[in-house]
Amino acid sequence: MNALNIKKGSSSHSAYELRDPNGDLIESHTLAVLVANESGVLARVIGLFSGRGYNIESLTVAEVDHEGHRSRITVVTRGGPAVIAQIKAQLERMVVVHEVHDLTAEGPAVQRELALFKVRGKGETRVEAMQLAEIFRAKVVDSTLESFVFELTGTPEKIDAFADLMRPLGLAEIARTGVAALSRGV
């Protein structure tokens, strides 16, 4: 007796539905999450992302209100509309979370990231790196005869673009802060 008419000996059948139901339009969203500044809170928020299989593209966190014990987590995540809505709802229901804003959905927002670039080089390439840095308004925060450290603030795309240009010119290391974001206007 074999209810599903599966051939005896077959094992290609899984007991579970294995298709990804979220194959819809994927896009990046920047979420601002205001949380209580207590120990373990960041672990809880990150645990939600890893435990439920959500993406983290970038994450920044720092206390923003010392008196009120508030920290602000800015997380850039990717997913279809249903997944993004679910991430927001999952965050909102957490005991430690006070507010969640989807800055991508709620209207125009400014996003900035700070990055440091160590570029090694001599002669021509060194001059070229310096010129490009000026065009990008990157600051030189450290220099030796064979290296620079540039500091650049901007959108993640601008940082990416600068990194691409520096790569052939001796880019040795990058440190990025991740995105900080605020909605525009009052």
Binding site: A3, E17, R93
Partner: protein
């Protein structure tokens, strides 16, 4: 304000929250708290045999009383043994508070003896947890813990208390003086959304109520309101495994449980409805089957206290976030004020269809005079315990599904089963927790022999604390549910689904000092069940049943509701031999 040790604060705060019972197991890191427990008589401590047992007992206590269940465990292994129970409570939204001991603060991080990162380990399986490093914050944390466990969608919380924090002195902050919690989930549903639901109720031609554990969690008033709404609209109603009892099984609109092993009429009503009103259920995969074919022609409304449950799996047309009691009150108020209208003629046609599905009698099985059919055993159990003040717990497997199909629940909080996590080993300790809360009730754990062995040590707890729980084991000498899947889905290769070398359950009962009963003849069933009920102490009832019975109906995973298997007969081209059936 009173100054006291952290250990004393724990006991003091539990008293302040009306806790009468704590299920626990001592160890080095909680000795100061045990010392305080020793020196008082208001809180009763139930000494378990394994910390997993303590958590399931607290769950059973919570589910049968509607109060927060409390458990106390030591650091390290005590805390890690609590993890399964915490996860179980998280998935079934059961409010419990677990207090764990921890190594002293100055030893944390040194791999001290019995040190484990308890808050780290339990973070994903608690609604919230805290490590309290300062005695001054302890009382307030306990108040917050009760509030969080109980408010919104209930769930398990854990407080980890280092031993030096238990010894140190500080001022006890009573609940009334503690800083109010910012955690305040929304409980009142949006009035406009409720109006949309009311309009849909008025127009629906093929409606169905699909209810779940949220109704039970919202409290007895939610069940009362649900009954009014069902009676006045005359809509059919089905429920998940978790919600059984919110609407009485004897009620005329009852379709029985839905889902993978749910009733034909319930699943087909879900599939064919034009309005689905989900009240406190969560579109679990055991309910929906294949998502894309789930109830294709219906408008869907979802009432839930947890906003993340809405649109998580199934997109709904109307989502109402709120406490079910308050939302149903508002629904009834609005609908009655508009004249209590429904599409009566269409409903009549719908009921004719539903009754035709009912006539299929999907729970039909082949009776036997030689072997005890598990379904028959449960029918007799149902008949012989019906008038009693009865609570049922279960383990996990075929017996659990048969219990849900063949036992009838007239009230909420009477049915405790591990739904979300499906934890074998849940039922025995849960039955003890229920019995401790209701000492005079008839508490029965419907068990499979394999599940039951997972926490059988708790019979010692039942004996010590005179909890006359009845362990009704449907012994098929198989991991029955696994065997069934192997038969139906894995080419009849029965890989490790035998229960080999089982103990002699009657001797085991004797060893524990309780009563053992074994039967294998259907003719002895009634008398044996009555003997079990009459016996004033715990009973281990070894009911030897048919070994290869399958549980039907069954919607194989990933199949839509209308591709349900009705029985062995289905696969053999024979329609149920109705004559030979005991229903």
């Amino acid at each position: 304000m009173a100054t006291m040790t952290g250990a004393k604060m724990v006991v003091q705060a539990l008293k302040e929250h009306g806790v009468e019972v704590v299920f626990g197991y001592p160890g080095g890191a909680v000795l100061p708290i045990y010392d305080e427990i020793f020196q008082q008589n208001d809180i009763r401590h139930i000494l378990v045999r394994h910390e997993q047992g303590a958590i399931h007992m607290a769950e059973g206590y919570a589910r049968s009383t509607g109060k927060v269940g409390v458990a106390l465990v030591t650091s390290g292994p005590g805390a890690t043994n609590a993890v399964t129970g915490l996860t179980d409570a998280l998935l079934d939204s059961i409010p419990i508070l677990v207090i764990s001991g921890q190594v002293p603060t100055f030893m944390i991080g040194t791999d001290g003896f019995q040190e484990a990162d308890t808050v780290g380990i339990t973070r994903p399986c608690t609604k919230m947890n805290w490590l309290v490093k300062d005695t001054a914050n302890l009382a307030a944390t306990i108040h917050e813990a009760f509030h969080v466990a109980f408010s919104g969608r209930p769930g398990p919380v854990l407080i980890d208390i280092p031993k030096d924090v238990q010894f140190a002195n500080a001022t006890y902050v009573p609940k009334a003086e503690a800083r109010p919690s910012h955690y305040a989930p929304r409980v009142r549903g949006d009035a406009d959304q409720i109006t949309r639901l009311v309009e849909m109720i008025e127009q629906a031609e093929r409606p169905v109520f699909y209810t779940g554990g949220g109704v039970v969690n919202s409290g007895p008033r939610a069940s009362a309101l649900l009954r009014e709404l069902v009676a006045e609209t005359d809509f059919p109603i089905t429920s998940t495994l978790m919600g059984l009892g919110s609407y009485p099984a004897s009620g005329k609109n009852w379709l029985g449980m839905l889902g993978m092993h749910g009733l034909y009429e319930a699943n087909l009503a879900m599939h064919g409805c034009d309005l689905m009103i989900n009240v406190g259920a969560r579109f679990d995969d055991r309910i929906t089957g294949r998502i894309k074919d789930f109830s294709p022609g219906s408008k869907k409304v979802h009432i839930d206290i947890d906003p993340s449950s809405i649109n998580k799996v199934i997109h709904v047309d109307v989502g109402i976030v709120g406490d079910i009691t308050l939302v149903l009150e508002e629904v009834l108020k609005q609908w009655r004020a508009r004249g209590s209208k429904t599409a009566k003629p269409a409903l009549k046609t719908w009921w004719a269809q539903v009754n035709a599905w009912r006539a299929v009698k999907c729970l039909t099985y082949k009776g036997s005079t030689k072997t005890i059919k598990p379904q028959h055993a449960l029918e007799r159990l149902e008949a012989l315990t019906k008038g009693h003040d009865r609570y049922i717990t279960t383990e996990v497997g075929q017996h659990q599904m048969w219990a849900a199909q063949f036992l009838g629940f007239e009230d909420p909080n009477r049915w405790m089963t591990s739904g979300g996590l499906g934890t074998m080993g849940y039922g025995l300790p849960a039955s003890i927790g229920v019995q401790i809360a209701h000492p005079d009730a008839l508490v029965i754990n419907v068990a499979g022999e394999a599940s039951w062995l997972m926490n059988m040590q708790e019979m010692g707890t039942a004996m010590q604390f005179r909890a006359p729980v009845k362990q009704f084991i449907l012994n098929n000498e198989r991991l029955g549910m696994v065997r069934q899947w192997q038969e139906l889905l894995h080419g009849e290769r029965y890989s490790h689904s035998w229960s080999e070398s089982l103990p002699d359950f009657v001797k085991l009962a004797e060893a524990f000092g309780c009563k053992g009963i074994r039967i294998d003849d259907p003719a002895d069933l009634d008398e044996a069940i009555l003997e079990m009920i009459r016996y004033p102490g715990p009973v281990i009832f070894d009911c030897r049943v048919e070994k290869h019975e399958n549980c039907f109906p069954m919607i194989p995973s990933g199949k839509p509701h209308n591709e349900m298997l009705l029985g062995d007969a289905d696969t053999q081209g024979v329609i149920g031999s109705k004559g030979a059936v005991l229903v």
